[in-house]
């Protein structure tokens, strides 16, 4: 399994909602508030446990009319950041499954 094929899902432990056109995410365990910018909000809405970075980048490229390679770089960067803040978690691979 390579990094680009990882499927992402929202961390199920987090509460979130859109406020003032900004996605606000709260971690109940420590009350830390995270805010996502426009691009981050777009990705967040489309992260559903069934899409990898390439899938999300394709949506981003279409939405913002940017070149696919730039969209992929931006998407991977944002996913990395959201993952490091524990906003996202990878979908566990099924036993015997190869991606």
């Amino acid at each position: 399994m390579n990094a680009a094929s990882v499927l992402w899902q929202k961390n199920p432990a987090l509460a979130w909602r859109e406020i003032d056109e900004t996605t606000v995410i709260i971690s109940p365990s420590d009350s830390v508030m995270h805010e996502l910018n426009d691009t981050g909000s777009f990705l967040w809405k489309n992260i559903d446990g069934y899409k990898c970075a390439a899938d999300l980048a394709a949506l981003l490229a279409e939405k913002y009319e940017v070149a696919p390679d730039i969209a992929l770089t931006d998407t991977q960067s944002l996913l990395e950041e959201m993952s490091s803040r524990k906003l996202l978690v990878p979908v566990p691979a099924m036993v015997g499954e190869s991606r």
């Binding site: 509460a15 979130w16 003032d20 900004t22 709260i26 109940p28 508030m33």
Partner: protein, 261 residues
């Protein structure tokens, strides 16, 4: 309202009914000293209402194994709440009782589209001005610079959305005034993040910025996901529908001049 109650065994129990932000409670206890202290502390909020949340104090024996939907511990005192009962155990004084009552109220308010906020609330022309900030930001200063009889609370405000509007309520939880807040309410005119400064200045805040200012000052103690999701919805609704501002103010009453009417 505050009468001894018949008891099947042990010391006679006494009960005290109060209502905070239209959330009714019935405290039942056998400890006479604690009963006196609670009756005095919450006298301004004494009120009998239908279907109060029944709290038994220091009755360790019953239904120990019943699972709690919500629990909290504070310096040896313990709160356990389920749909059937609410118990405060290990409560040795009024301060522990007060702490557990705040915690319980914050949890109950989630189901009533409300929340508790570290904030002073002052009523002017029938509207509530809610001043929030961390300890030392100036909540008590704002309250002390406001006309007598207009302060709902200098420490903990209760906000609820009801009948199509946000209302702020006083609470019996003390700040530096060392006196209970006022048992009244008023529609909310605005939320004000307070900052002490050399001059008085008012700045409008976007809802998301106001939310960022509110979060550290919201009293909430449940780690449970669903409760937090509902709280976020309530707070999101509040900052979307109540005008939010930053109030930079000097320590004199002239700050009222920059506030919106």
């Amino acid at each position: 309202m505050n009468a001894p109650e018949a008891n099947s065994g042990g010391a006679p129990k006494q009960q005290f009914e109060l209502s905070i932000g239209c959330v009714p409670f019935r405290l039942q206890m056998a400890d006479v000293e604690l009963f006196r202290a609670a009756s005095s502390r919450y006298a301004a909020f004494a009120e009998a209402a239908a279907q109060p949340i029944h709290i038994t104090l220091n009755e360790f024996s019953k239904s120990e194994s019943r699972p709690a939907e919500f629990g909290y511990e504070f310096e040896g005192a313990e709160l356990r709440a389920s749909s059937q009962e609410t118990r405060f155990d290990g409560v040795r004084n009024e301060y522990a009782l007060d702490s557990l009552l705040r915690v319980l109220l914050s949890w109950k308010l989630v189901g009533r589209h409300g929340f508790l906020l570290h904030a002073a609330t002052v009523v002017r022309d029938g509207k509530a001005y809610v001043f929030t900030g961390r300890s030392g930001a100036g909540k008590s200063t704002v309250a002390s610079l406001s006309p007598e009889g207009t302060v709902l609370t200098d420490e903990i405000s209760l906000l609820r959305f009801e009948n199509g509007e946000w209302r702020a309520y006083g609470t019996p939880f003390w700040g530096e005034f060392r006196a209970a807040g006022s048992n009244t309410s008023a529609p909310v005119r605005g939320l004000f993040r307070i900052v002490q400064a050399a001059e008085n200045r008012l700045t409008t805040l976007r809802p998301v910025v106001m939310l960022r200012a509110l979060l550290p000052n919201v009293l909430f103690f449940s780690p449970e996901f669903e409760a937090n999701r509902r709280l976020l919805d309530i707070l999101g609704h509040a900052v979307d529908s109540i005008p939010g501002y930053e109030l930079a103010f000097r320590k004199n009453a002239a700050f009222w001049e920059v506030l919106p009417e």
